[in-house]
């Protein structure tokens, strides 16, 4: 199987986000970056499919040179090669999807994987846009996947349950936590990642359709009150919830 996995380089989830001086983006100073957590499940699923069916896994990322760090992480986990679509411009989901779709079209893969969302801008959109642009079926928020020949049976998470979706390959899947347990790169993997190729591409940029006008910190919550300590506080807590907040 020829598999592609699209990955993103994002600020650590433990990081505090500060606003940069333009008031429209976040301040990257001093932030540590990680591979988008959901993309790790996507990478792991590709590696498992490769182990089962043979083939090749290609990791693709759109961004500046720093994204190579995240591509190296995927290579260290066992991905065969990387592609960096070099683009530093501000992009929306549509433009990102266009850049990826143009590249993926020429790769003709059996399946394309994404994380279900990138934990920076949280749009959950790029994978599905790519599917639509390439005219491919898709299953998003996948927690279980079985591939049999050219058919896939996927389980996706919905409110309070699951949907079972059958699609024909090639198809796009976006991975949810629970799909698998991503491996840690081995020392051997980390060493061999250094010699694996990362190809650079320079696309013609697509005009974004969405314009960010401002970015702000959310209004600070007014510090609440300590109702009391131990069980003695319980009657007062329930009274406040019932009479003051009126939520129960």
């Amino acid at each position: 199987m020829k598999l592609a996995v699209c990955i993103n380089h994002v600020p650590d989830t433990a990081a505090k986000i500060n606003i940069s001086s333009d008031g429209k983006s976040y301040d990257r100073t001093g932030l540590s970056y990680i591979i988008n957590p959901y993309d790790e499940f996507a990478v792991e699923e590709c590696l498992r499919l490769k182990e089962k069916h043979g083939g090749e896994v290609i990791a693709i990322s759109v961004g500046s040179d720093v994204h190579k760090e995240t591509i190296r992480k995927a290579l260290a986990m066992g991905v065969d090669k990387g592609i960096l679509i070099k683009d530093d411009a501000i992009r929306d989901s549509f433009a990102l999807a266009r850049a990826l779709a143009d590249e993926l079209k020429s790769l003709s893969t059996d399946a394309i994987f994404f994380g279900k969302q990138s934990v920076d801008y949280d749009n959950s959109a790029v994978g599905l846009m790519v599917a639509e642009m390439l005219g491919l079926p898709s299953v998003s928020v996948v927690v279980k996947l079985e591939i049999n020949g050219d058919k896939a049976l996927a389980e996706r998470e919905i409110e309070g349950g699951h949907e079972i979706v059958e699609v024909k390959l090639p198809a796009v899947f976006t991975a949810q936590k629970g799909l698998n347990e991503p491996r840690y790169p081995s020392l051997k993997g980390i060493m061999s990642a250094k010699s694996k190729p990362i190809e650079e591409k320079h696309p013609s940029p697509t005009q974004p359709k969405v314009e960010v006008l401002s970015m702000n910190k959310p209004p600070a919550k007014a510090a609440g009150k300590i109702v009391g300590t131990d069980v003695h506080a319980v009657p007062e807590l329930v009274r406040l919830l019932h009479e003051e907040a009126k939520v129960i």
Binding site: D92, E132, V141, G160, Q176
Partner: protein, 325 residues
């Protein structure tokens, strides 16, 4: 402006977020002078479509087909985009639910439209709609404008108001969209609903447990409190990673972002990635042994002490109040 609001239904019952997007569309239409068309897709959904009028839709378009009983990413996207064109809608509003999040990106591509996802506010400025949406799971907020002529927005559930007004029933128009087998390339075959389980993404009250619960066996009391309140059970990343609770209960940056009326955090210290996912809740109650836990900084009401003593007392008190004791 003309608005198309996607009225999500399951088993021919409209979901609450469907009423929220229709009401949001109506509010914007009243300000800009425009019409709201609601779109219901399914099998047997026609009979309930007139009720959408009471929620603010002047017209309800119904697309019915036995094959549309279950959601299909590809077929639904085609229908929404085709109806948006037919109705000359400038703005398409879709709930940011599991279905809507899957559907909207495809609709946006089909309409060559910009997409603003998971919006928590929409306002009219001149001839533009400005959307507010959280990023980094709520660690920051952005205001954005969609510059394409057709615009698609998904709206976060539980944030926009819903409710029937005194508007008259909607005029129902049946629209036939021809669908080929290829249009069902992605189609749901079966829905497995967890038995009567209330999802954190839909709940008005959430009772959440963290590492302070000390083990999976102690979540029984979290479940009992949730049951007494008619609430959903939530969990922190630590307890999900430890395997104490399923991932679909996880609240936070790598789980679900929620904004219920009441969020009760028990034995949750309040790691930044957890706070990001729940700090927009209307009221937050924190119960924790450590008076310096970060959760207290955002809690409306805090109780310092041992959860194993406080929670049983709280369950009893709630039952007494709600007459279930």
């Amino acid at each position: 402006m003309r608005f198309l609001a996607f009225a999500e239904q399951r088993e021919n019952k409209f979901k609450k977020p469907a009423f929220e997007v229709i009401r949001a569309a109506r509010t914007l239409a009243d300000q800009t002078g425009g019409e709201v068309v609601a779109l219901a897709i399914g099998s047997g959904v026609r009979s309930v479509a007139p009720t959408l009028g009471g929620h603010g839709a002047q017209k309800a378009v119904v697309v019915e087909n036995p094959k549309l009983e279950f959601y299909s990413s590809t077929a639904y996207a085609k229908i929404v985009a085709d109806v948006a064109r037919q109705q000359q809608a400038n703005v398409v509003l879709i709930p940011a639910t599991a279905m809507g999040k899957d559907l909207a990106p495809r609709v946006a591509v089909r309409l060559d439209a910009g997409l603003g996802t998971d919006c928590t506010a929409l306002r009219v400025e001149g001839s533009d709609i400005i959307a507010t949406r959280p990023v980094f799971a709520g660690k920051a907020l952005t205001d954005l404008r969609v510059n394409s002529s057709t615009k698609v927005f998904t709206l976060r559930p539980n944030v926009f108001t819903s409710g029937a007004g005194d508007e008259k029933p909607a005029d129902v128009e049946n629209v036939d969209i021809s669908l080929t087998e290829q249009d069902f390339a992605s189609a749901v075959r079966e829905v497995r609903q967890a038995a009567s389980k209330l999802d954190v993404a839909e709940a008005d009250i959430i009772v959440s447990g963290g590492r302070g619960m000390k083990g999976p066996e102690h979540f029984r009391m979290i479940e009992e409190l949730a049951e007494a309140l008619g609430a959903a059970v939530g969990a922190s990343r630590a307890v999900v990673d430890a395997g104490w609770r399923p991932h679909d209960e996880q609240v936070g940056q790598t789980g679900k972002t929620v904004s219920p009326s009441l969020y009760i955090a028990i034995g949750v210290s309040g790691a930044i990635q957890h706070l990001a996912g729940m700090s927009s809740s209307k009221y937050i109650v924190a119960i924790n042994k450590d008076k310096d836990a970060p959760i207290f900084q955002i809690a409306s009401y805090g109780v310092v002490g041992d959860a194993f003593e406080i929670v049983p007392a709280l369950i009893a008190e709630v039952r007494k109040l709600l007459g279930k004791g």
